[in-house]
């Protein structure tokens, strides 16, 4: 059995809603985290990301000016001087299937649909800590492996060219989002 030493983790929380930031801060501190940095917009979050080098980013989607999706895309720049590999947990009221897909394609690691729960947040953090996924770089994508199907018979247009070693069993973001409600 494993436990997470939260006091060794550094979090960056980005949400424009002060109530949600307070809830997230309360949950993370209760888990044992000491370093929780907060931002109310994506632009500030990006600056803080470079400055504090957090281990895990938790971001809302809808925010003024520079939203959580853009934040994820800015972090997932393979040529950037910063760390493009940090786990990003998107915590959002958007929970439609197409939104989950868009978030996945922006390089989001985990998706957590609001309303938030302590269990849901803990499970996402445990997953990114204990089960990191390999990263994939293509012409149009850089981020955690999005492949969820283990079937090798798929021959559609988005099939990557490569061997079976790439096929990895992972629960889908959508299933995880469903599991919290």
């Amino acid at each position: 059995m494993f436990r997470i030493d939260f006091n060794k983790l550094r979090f960056l929380v980005c949400d424009d809603n002060p109530h949600m930031r307070r809830i997230l801060r309360t949950l993370l501190h209760s888990f044992g985290a000491r370093e929780v940095y907060e931002s109310e917009d994506g632009a500030t979050a990006l600056e803080m990301y470079s400055h504090y080098v957090p281990d895990i980013v938790i971001t809302d989607w809808s925010m003024p000016i520079f939203d959580g999706l853009e934040l994820a895309q800015m972090i997932r720049q393979p040529e950037s001087k910063g760390n493009p590999y940090a786990p990003i947990i998107m915590l959002t009221g958007h929970s439609e299937k197409r939104r989950v897909t868009v978030a996945r394609d922006a390089g989001v690691t985990e998706f957590l649909a609001k309303p938030i729960s302590a269990k849901g947040l803990y499970q996402r953090i445990l997953n990114v800590v204990a089960n990191p996924r390999p990263f994939i770089k293509t012409k149009t994508y850089f981020g955690p492996d999005r492949r969820r199907n283990t079937g090798t018979t798929y021959i559609g247009p988005e099939r990557r060219v490569g061997g079976e070693m790439e096929v990895m069993q992972q629960p889908s973001l959508l299933d995880k989002a469903r599991a919290t409600i």
Binding site: M1, T26, P115, P132, K137, T138, V161
Partner: protein, 190 residues
């Protein structure tokens, strides 16, 4: 790509697979069962400790929504007023259940769908939006009455039904929106 000696990059015809030793492995500690604590239980207790503030927070959110609606009644729909109304409704959709007002969240979700999928917000019957705002305010302000939970739930369901009917009709020639409207939501119901 950033040079990192710990990265292992495997090249394929049209992509690279990049692996690295788990950078967060240092925070994982193997423990026996008796040494397992209960971080989720601890967090739930802490959240319960905040609950005394939830009603005030919910009222603040509802007032923000009403203010955004008032701005639209005064100045009409613009990018700025539309976005503020959407963000206020969207925040309630996400927060309300946590604050103990799930029906307000359901009504706010219905309002978000109208804002997101109506082909022309100026053509949306103003009563449809106003009823959503008023319902959310009523659910938040009248919560202490004994019989309000079932009424609030019925009210939000009715609003959603009317909104969906309107959206399905208004988008009958826009299949991509129709698909999104009719797709089963994974958002929590009431």
């Amino acid at each position: 790509m950033a040079k990192d000696k710990t990265l292992q990059v495997t090249a394929f015809a049209d992509h690279h697979v990049i692996t690295q030793p788990n950078p967060l492995r240092k925070v994982l500690r193997r423990v026996t069962e008796k040494d397992l604590d209960d971080p989720v239980g601890r967090a739930e207790k802490a959240l319960a400790g905040l609950s005394g503030e939830f009603r005030n927070w919910m009222e603040t959110e509802a007032d923000r929504l009403s203010a955004a609606h008032a701005a639209i009644l005064k100045d009409g729909f613009s990018d700025a007023t539309r976005q503020e109304l959407f963000r206020a409704a969207h925040d309630i959709k996400g927060d309300a259940a946590t604050f103990g007002f799930p029906s307000a969240g359901a009504a706010a979700e219905s309002l978000c769908r109208i804002i997101e999928h109506a082909p022309d917000l100026d053509q949306v019957p103003s009563d449809l939006i106003t009823h959503h705002i008023n319902a959310i305010q009523a659910i938040v302000r009248e919560r202490t009455k004994l019989d309000t939970a079932s009424v609030a739930s019925a009210l939000s369901r009715k609003l959603r039904g009317v909104a969906d009917e309107y959206l399905a009709h208004a988008n009958r020639d826009r299949p991509e929106h129709l698909e999104a409207i009719l797709a089963p939501s994974i958002a929590p119901g009431d």
